[in-house]
């Protein structure tokens, strides 16, 4: 079985493929893997949005226009946080546990494509929930909701930020710590972040803290994008952009890291 260099066929090295083609291949694989979970997830997200709009309104006897705007935009923002900072890291943790992530790292695909394939799938799956939440807000409170390119950009930007934070958590923390961190984020986001209520109900120190954490600025930009009350969003956009960039970079570096 000695190898003869003269008769051994010559093989060429596969060329690097375009980023989008690799990404699309991973998206297709992700859609195939999650084909049963995705519709269920979309339905749950829609129910979640409706439950917040209708359920939280029950706790407030007289819902004025401002409270209605907070409850409505809060429902969509919490949906985005739930997908990005809870679901996405849990799915990434499962991938780590099952060896899928390590396997994907051996494939000839860019690390950023691995990062963005699942992120886009789950973010898109969450969009119907946000749309249903908007419909629920319109039906429950009769609010005028702006839906244009600015709204879409705000929602997609918020999703990218939340997913990047979630992935950074999942890729840098051990699996057990990831689960704990996502629970803390969800409890903090749901109960103590000025997303479903105005920030002035919190002590001053908490207001300042939330101005530099990502969740309240996310809620503020989405509220402004959908209701156009004229509040300046520059600082919020800067805070969100810094969080998005830092978290994405952290997640990307974690994926590129070699043992």
């Amino acid at each position: 079985m000695a190898v003869d260099a003269l008769t051994t066929p010559t093989l060429a090295v596969p060329r690097a493929r375009a980023w989008f083609i690799s990404w699309w291949g991973l998206v297709r694989w992700s859609l195939t893997r999650h084909k049963y979970l995705l519709p269920a997830f979309t339905a749950v997200q829609a129910l979640f949005a409706v439950a917040i709009v209708y359920g939280l309104a029950l706790m407030i006897p007289d819902v004025d226009h401002e409270a209605a705007r907070y409850l409505s935009s809060g429902a969509w923002t919490l949906g985005i946080i739930a997908v990005g900072c809870v679901l996405a890291p849990q799915i990434m943790s499962t991938s780590k546990q099952e060896g899928l992530l390590d396997y994907q790292k051996t494939l000839p695909v860019p690390r950023s494509a691995i990062l963005l394939a699942d992120a886009v799938v789950w973010s898109l799956a969450a969009l119907p929930g946000i749309a249903v939440g908007m419909l629920a807000a319109f039906l429950r409170f009769g609010l005028e909701i702006h839906i244009d390119l600015f709204t879409i950009a705000a929602v997609l930007g918020a999703q990218f930020t939340a997913v990047s934070i979630g992935y950074a958590i999942a890729l840098w923390l051990p699996i057990s710590a990831t689960s704990l961190a996502t629970q803390v984020i969800m409890i903090g986001g749901l109960l103590f972040s000025p997303i479903t209520f105005p920030a002035d109900r919190l002590p001053d120190w908490a207001v300042i803290l939330h101005q530099f954490l990502p969740f309240a600025p996310l809620g503020d930009t989405i509220r402004e994008a959908t209701f156009r009350t004229g509040e300046d969003q520059l600082l919020n956009v800067i805070v969100v952009a810094v969080w998005a960039g830092t978290a994405y970079l952290a997640a990307y570096l974690a994926l590129r890291k070699r043992k």
Binding site: T8, P14, T32, E98
Partner: protein, 312 residues
């Protein structure tokens, strides 16, 4: 799908050492090897000998502490993205198949490796057929047995195969009928010009298929040998005698070494000159009813392995 980099280069490892963080000892120590196109190389050694670490460094998921890995003149340590294009790897723990069927999984990987959809589907079906798993091609991964998952994982690694194939324990859990199919397929890939590096503990199968054996022990290369070199090194034969329980063996023939296992089998390692005397002796044992049966065979890779590693 092919590019400017010339093909069929040798894969060379130059003084590759890997020590993991917080590890007391090196997983690989100063390993220098060259794998050539068309070669089927068996990487053997005890658990923890550093075989999987070596493959992971070639594919670029583990970075050597020192040393270099080159494909032709290109450093794969400096360019792990190139490593993933020139090599594919079947992981030790089979590829994750949650939510996908073998056909879907193999097709997905073939497409990620650059095949158009119809070609990817055809390749997947051909692989499934050649590995004898057509019956389960549409069964979800969660419902597959360990052996079927491993075969699927193998097919994922060799679908649209790049020049270098790194295959970690491909026949573990696989039934005896399908194991030869895997080895035959690997042999064909090597004959087609691929560099095939297989980690395995199945020495009997390796003996039939590999061009070259690399034995790792404690992270270092202990033996790097072709079957011919190994045969020259192993100028011994093994005589195994099944002794009837409760009987005493009056005497032993001249032999290099001998040993008795727990089941009462007597094993003698014989030099060529010792074989005639040993045969005469064992025929006498059978004729007098002391022995039930015997077998004379050239020294196997397994016995050599035991001898070289001294049972450690």
């Amino acid at each position: 799908m092919t590019g400017a980099i010339p093909g069929s280069e040798a894969l060379s490892l130059d003084q590759v050492t890997k020590t993991y963080k917080r590890a007391a000892v090196a997983a690989n120590r100063a390993i220098s090897l060259t794998f050539r196109p068309g070669e089927l190389v068996a990487l053997i050694g005890h658990n923890g000998a550093g075989k999987t670490t070596l493959l992971s460094q070639i594919i670029g998921t583990v970075k050597p502490t020192s040393g270099d890995i080159r494909y032709g003149t290109s450093s794969l340590v400096a360019a792990p993205d190139l490593a993933r294009r020139i090599a594919s790897m079947m992981p030790q723990m089979h590829a994750p198949l949650t939510g996908v069927t073998p056909l879907q999984a193999i097709t997905s990987i073939a497409r990620l490796r650059g095949l158009p959809a119809p070609d990817a589907n055809r390749t997947a079906l051909d692989l499934i057929d050649s590995l004898g798993i057509s019956e389960w091609k549409d069964t979800h991964g969660e419902k597959l047995s360990g052996g079927l998952r491993r075969l699927t994982s193998y097919a994922m690694a060799v679908a649209a195969p790049p020049p270098v194939l790194l295959v970690d324990e491909p026949t573990n859990d696989v039934d005896p009928v399908r194991r030869p199919l895997v080895w035959r397929h690997l042999r064909r890939l090597a004959d087609d010009g691929h560099t095939v590096v297989v980690v395995t503990h199945n020495l009997l199968e390796v003996q039939r298929a590999a061009d070259r054996y690399v034995l790792l022990q404690n992270g270092s290369v202990l033996v790097d040998s072709t079957p011919r070199q190994l045969a020259q090194r192993a100028r011994t034969a093994t005589l195994t005698v099944s002794v009837r329980p409760g009987t005493e063996i009056p005497s032993l023939p001249s032999a290099a070494t001998h040993a008795v296992d727990e089941d009462g089998h007597l094993t003698l390692d014989l030099e060529p000159a010792q074989i005639p005397g040993a045969i005469e002796w064992v025929l006498h044992l059978v004729a007098t009813g002391i022995a039930d049966s015997y077998a004379l065979a050239p020294a196997s890779l397994e016995s050599l392995y035991e001898g070289i590693t001294n049972g450690r």
